[in-house]
């Protein structure tokens, strides 16, 4: 599903250096990391916002580095839960969640709203659908972030510290939710250094350090 082959990024002293990582379809993978920059570089590469100096990056069997443009077909299959939310401040809760649908689906506005409202219900945010983001707590923003990740029903789910700002007693439920998603065939990659999550999830575990990946 996701295959980094000898990826080296463009800097003088590359943040990612000859990095290899292979995540098969339906796998759940935990990736510990030492540096935020290296982690963000990986996410940027997946989002096609960064072009490496060398190497190959396959997503769903397609080398996305061969394409100069961002491939909508590929991006549609990836849901990324960003560590800093990447929520749009000028939009309210409902408009934030339906934003990816507006980009990737031809559905009518009414249909989008219906899908958005249902997803908000799942994440306990329905009653705040008209709220501006400034009225949300950090935990609610994180839930919205995760909800938006799921809105397109992606095959590959990238989660950057999904437990951040989530109350301790809710983390287990959240992890169970991801495990259930994995059971129905979703490929999941979680960036975290939280031992609790590592112990909860039985999947491949890697460490991103000094620009390369090693087994934990």
């Amino acid at each position: 599903m996701l295959n980094f082959k000898n990826i080296t990024t463009n800097e003088k002293k590359p943040y990612l250096n000859n990095l290899n990582l292979h995540i098969k379809i339906g796998e759940i993978t935990i990736l510990n990391y030492k540096s935020d920059i290296e982690k963000n570089k990986l996410i940027d590469l997946i989002c096609q916002l960064e072009t490496p100096k060398s190497g190959e990056l396959f997503i769903d069997g397609k080398n996305i580095l061969n394409s100069k443009k961002r491939l909508k077909v590929i991006q549609k299959k990836i849901g990324v839960c960003y560590g800093d939310f990447k929520l749009i401040e000028s939009k309210n809760v409902l408009n934030n969640i339906i934003f990816p649908l507006e980009i990737y689906t031809p559905s009518s506005k009414d249909e989008l709203i219906k899908i958005g409202e249902n997803t908000l219900k799942t994440f306990g945010l329905y009653n705040k659908k008209e709220f501006p983001l400034s009225k949300l707590t950090l935990e609610e923003k994180q839930r919205l972030n995760i909800a938006r990740t799921m809105i397109l029903d992606p095959d590959l789910i990238i989660l950057d510290n999904p437990d951040r700002y989530i109350e301790n007693n809710k983390i287990d439920n959240l992890m169970n939710y991801f495990i259930e998603l994995n059971k129905i065939g979703k490929t999941i990659l979680i960036f975290t250094n939280n031992k609790k999550i590592e112990s909860k999830i039985s999947g491949n575990k890697y460490l991103l350090e000094k620009g390369a990946i090693s087994n934990v």
């Binding site: 916002l49 990447k86 929520l87 749009i88 401040e89 000028s90 934003f99 980009i103």
Partner: protein, 283 residues
């Protein structure tokens, strides 16, 4: 196509709703920037026009010998008019000159022998032409003396130099900073939204699509502020021109209107084209 228009319309509405205060403030600042831009621009234009008038005001007096016939005087006049840089010539008959002088001094000229000579008052374009004309005219048969009004020349040179300095000063001290200010105001509209722009980029929207509503708002804001600022300026200018035209040279309203109109049209046409290149965002 309709989806994109609808999407852009939604984006514009959301942006304006979210940033009403910011847009109002930057719009007002832009109007003032355009007002001061026009003040600066037209001041430069007026100084330039004023210098043109001053440049054509260098003068010298040519005195003709008493024994020169009327035909010869006409020939002299023609040959002076052919000289390079001569802007105007006026003949002063010695009788009229004496009459004016006695009127000025308050005496009667009855029975008085006229000691004055027939003369020409010549205006030239620039001091160089004035000096060249003096040398040439001095050599013409029938010319007794050529006198340059030195005091007038010095005053003109001083005024022209002062105006030039003022034009440069206005250009560098006001016109350029105002232009920079305008572009900074426009740029800040996009930069202030860099968080949302980056978020949209990560969510899969293309940079061009993301920036389109910002450019649309920016361009509308820029053009409207330009029109309003210019209209305020033109009203102000006409008021000032009526009040101050006795003291200073101020270019006619229609001329200023045309200049402001042309400059505003050019800026309004160029800005949308170059704004895509000037306003950079991350990535």
């Amino acid at each position: 196509m309709f989806k994109k228009i609808r999407q852009m319309n939604t984006e514009i509405t959301e942006l304006i709703q979210k940033n009403t205060t910011y847009y109002t403030l930057s719009f007002t600042t832009l109007i003032f920037a355009f007002l001061f831009f026009n003040i600066s621009l037209i001041s430069i234009y007026n100084l330039y026009q004023n210098n043109k008038i001053l440049n054509n005001s260098y003068n010298l007096s040519v005195y003709i010998n008493n024994n020169v016939s009327q035909n010869s005087i006409e020939t002299i006049e023609k040959s002076i008019l052919e000289l390079e840089g001569v802007e105007g010539i006026s003949y002063i008959d010695k009788k009229i000159a004496l009459q004016k002088l006695t009127e000025k001094l308050g005496i009667t000229n009855h029975g008085m022998t006229n000691p004055l000579l027939n003369s020409f008052n010549i205006t030239t374009h620039g001091e160089e032409n004035l000096n060249n004309a003096k040398v040439v005219i001095d050599e013409i048969d029938g010319v007794k003396e050529v006198i340059v009004n030195e005091k007038n020349t010095i005053t003109l040179n001083k005024k022209i130099a002062q105006n030039r300095k003022l034009m440069i000063w206005l250009f560098f001290i006001t016109l350029i900073p105002i232009m920079i200010m305008k572009f900074n105001i426009m740029h800040s509209t996009v930069v202030s939204q860099s968080h949302d722009i980056e978020a949209k980029l990560y969510l899969g929207l293309e940079k061009k699509e993301i920036l389109r509503p910002y450019y649309f708002i920016n361009n509308i804001k820029f053009i409207s502020a330009g029109i309003i600022g210019s209209l305020i300026f033109l009203n102000l200018y006409e008021f000032l021109r009526r009040s101050l035209s006795d003291f200073f040279y101020l270019a006619p309203f229609f001329k200023v209107g045309i200049i402001v109109g042309i400059i505003m049209t050019v800026i309004s046409l160029i800005f949308p084209l170059i704004s895509f290149n000037i306003i950079k965002v991350k990535r």
